[in-house]
């Protein structure tokens, strides 16, 4: 029972990451109609915002270790600590949450530049060409990061107050072994916040309503004299923020490297399509569904019954859902079916 509860938590947490990534993609892919293979790169860039902020905060005074002569070995003391003392240490430890705040404007800017500079010219082009150009862009972005940060993963730590594991079992009066990392709970919470703010923006504000109307019928909204193009730029920016935040906040769980975008790319497409094209809710639901089922599939007794099931579970679910529901969980008719 406890193990099931833990796997459910794992699933929710995994699902939260999937849902965030898929939400950004479905905004661009399901609604703007652009097959954006650079979506994984946005996730990666978000993660590297965290890395960059951390690097900036920890610019250090270097004290050489004189015992080593062949190369420069040194201990580092960040200037922030030297200047601000404990406050400086505190700031550095909180670099991931701080970088999340930084990521919002940075990712917005990246999104706008990407849309204005490149994507806008491809709305009318074929999907094949969209794939080629965005895939090329993804490679280029990855390589640029590799030039600056190297190819190895770079670990990021959560603030000490939020690292370590929460003793959920003890708190709830259940099994003592029921513990769960604080940061994962924070991630879950943040993803709920982000998802609900995006939904609130699209459903409650007039701006969002126009955007949604434009998704449904671009020409119609254009006829109303509303500049839908500009709104789509904003949508792209929002997608970039959501995806970037997903990456940024994920860094304490998954040390980022330049390659991580590609690993999440396929997954995000699967989640979006399983959720159904053109449906924001579908993408979120599919994210959680896949996350939870993936967690359960990893359990020993499940693997004993069906060997290798955890290797393929995501794809298996995708096949089953797409065959039983023609347009995924909540897909709209006519989106990307041609």
């Amino acid at each position: 029972m406890d193990s099931l509860l833990l796997q459910l938590l794992n699933g929710l947490d995994k699902g939260a990451a999937y849902a965030l990534i898929a939400l950004g993609l479905t905004l661009v892919f399901g609604t703007l109609g652009v097959v954006n293979f650079a979506h994984g790169a946005l996730f990666m860039l978000g993660a590297f915002v965290a890395v960059s902020v951390n690097k900036l905060l920890t610019i250090s005074q270097k004290v050489r270790d004189e015992s080593i002569t062949a190369f420069e070995a040194y201990t580092e003391k960040p200037y922030l600590e030297i200047w601000l003392g404990d406050l400086g240490t505190e700031i550095i430890q909180w670099s991931v949450p701080i970088s999340a705040l930084v990521a919002i404007p940075v990712m917005l800017l990246i999104g706008l530049v990407m849309e204005r500079g490149l994507i806008q010219y491809f709305y009318k082009r074929t999907h094949a060409e969209q794939i080629l150009v965005t895939f090329g862009l993804a490679i280029v972005l990855g390589e640029i990061i590799k030039v600056f940060f190297g190819a190895n993963p770079i670990s990021q730590s959560a603030p000490p107050e939020l690292s370590g594991a929460a003793r959920l079992g003890a708190m709830l009066g259940l099994n003592e072994n029921l513990v769960y990392p604080w940061w994962r709970l924070v991630y879950l919470l943040c993803s709920f916040l982000i998802v609900s703010s995006v939904f609130a923006f699209l459903k409650l504000t007039t701006y969002g309503m126009v955007v949604r109307a434009g998704m449904a019928d671009r020409e119609m909204v254009g006829l109303l004299g509303i500049n839908i193009q500009r709104r789509f730029t904003v949508v792209f920016g929002i997608a970039a923020i959501v995806t970037g935040l997903a990456g940024c906040l994920y860094t304490p769980i998954l040390p980022p490297d330049y390659h991580m975008g590609m690993n999440f790319l396929v997954l995000s497409f699967v989640v979006v399509v399983v959720g159904g094209m053109g449906s924001l809710g579908g993408a979120v639901c599919a994210g959680f569904l896949l996350g939870i089922l993936q967690s359960f599939a990893a359990m020993s007794w499940v693997k004993d019954i069906v060997p290798g099931i955890d290797q393929i579970i995501i794809y298996l679910i995708a096949v089953v859902i797409l065959l039983t529901r023609p347009r995924g969980l909540m897909g709209r008719k006519g989106v990307m079916e041609g």
């Binding site: 406890d2 193990s3 833990l6 796997q7 938590l9 794992n10 699933g11 947490d13 995994k14 990451a17 270790d65 080593i68 002569t69 062949a70 190369f71 420069e72 070995a73 040194y74 201990t75 580092e76 590799k146 190297g150 190819a151 190895n152 993963p153 770079i154 670990s155 990021q156 730590s157 959560a158 690292s163 370590g164 594991a165 099994n175 072994n177 513990v179 769960y180 990392p181 940061w183 994962r184 304490p252 769980i253 998954l254 040390p255 490297d257 390659h259 991580m260 690993n263 999440f264 993936q294 967690s295 359960f296 599939a297 990893a298 359990m299 020993s300 693997k303 290798g308 955890d310 290797q311």
Partner: protein, 456 residues
Amino acid sequence: MTDNGNPTGWSRRRFLQTGAATTAGLGALSFSGTAPTGFVRNAWAQDFRNNPGNSDTVTLGFNVPQTGPYAEEGKDELRAYKLAVKHLNGEGDGGMLNTMQPTALKGNGILGKKVDYVTGDTQTKSDAARASAKRMIERDGVVMVTGGSSSGVAVSVQALCQDMGVIFMAGLTHANDTTGKDRRRYGFRHFFNAHMSAAALGPVLKEQMGTNRKSYMLVADYNWGWSVEESMKNVTEEMGWETVNALRTPLGTSDYSQYLTPVRDSGADVLFLIHYGGDMVNSLTQAVQFGLKDATVNGKPFEIVVPLYSRVMAQGAGEAVAGIYGSTNWHWSLQNEGSEAFVKSFGEEYGFPPSQAAHTCYVQTLLYANAVESAGTFYPPEVIKFLEGFEFTGMGNGDTLYRAADHQAFKPVLVVKGNDDPQSQFDLLEVVKEVPTEEIMYPADLYPGNLGPYEV
């Protein structure tokens, strides 16, 4: 492809072999410039692939991952190779050329030919690695291929090199298969393997954690993972440990939470993370987040063990490695003549210490060059015969033997621990013990395989 039908070649080779054997130890062997050997080389021109003949340079092929998750490791390997070429050509401070014993190398290239090199990208994929190796062999005319950063690549490139009659000096490859089931006459591995990791870790774990432990293993679900799992199980179960579960995890998993949560409930008090590179970084980081390192189970402190340490993971996992046991082939902090010489020249060249991958690649290059120099010919069967059973020292690992039966190098293995209190940004690991060769030695037929013929 290669033609071995020259009826006169054999006797000449015999002659040369004897010559090489008698003069190898003296390190003064040089045929160059004398008429009879010039004749001999010409006679061999058709005998083996990529014979450098009368050319005044000789080309080596450095096949390393330049893209993909192990690009950084490949980069470090390449640095080591370039340094080795420099030293072979008599540039720089000579590095381990000065400490290697015995050696025939003189710092004037190989057999008087200047050493040149070509590079390629394995992408850590068998196909790409073989394509790259083939380019080196077919287009660039290399006499030796070396490199790689995974066992899949090593095994497949080694098989290719056997087919094409070019010697392969493996880079980083840890699976037993490379010199076990898939061993090849033309392939040599200086790096240690899963069996040796387990054998070396066993006594240390026993010492540190006692004999009454329950272990849980997370195993990368492919050949290498299984071979480490098997080796670790054999060793730990022999010393009285119980394996509660060995759960296989898909390659390239980014979130291991679903595999980690059952660990605590299982009653296990030791966790083996049998992953490599990026996978290891993720699983270890997350295992620590789940509080496993600080936990107490069965009245004992919970322990995490990573059988194979590498720089990728030590850097990528950051603080998480502190106090975690594992094994490694070599570490720059070793205090011996060879290591110090190598760290000095590498550090001065690049500004930071070499990784174990760089070390093994550097050593492999020197070993090949020395074998050619000593055999007095590039003719692969002679070079192979020299390397088979070659004993040497001063290369950073102490006394080392290239076993003839399976082409595996035997030398002490390092058991290391993540540093709790690093003195510098490079001070990530602390050597706990150098396990002597006798303790990790195993019979060559433990993993039966067939080396194949000398001549192809």
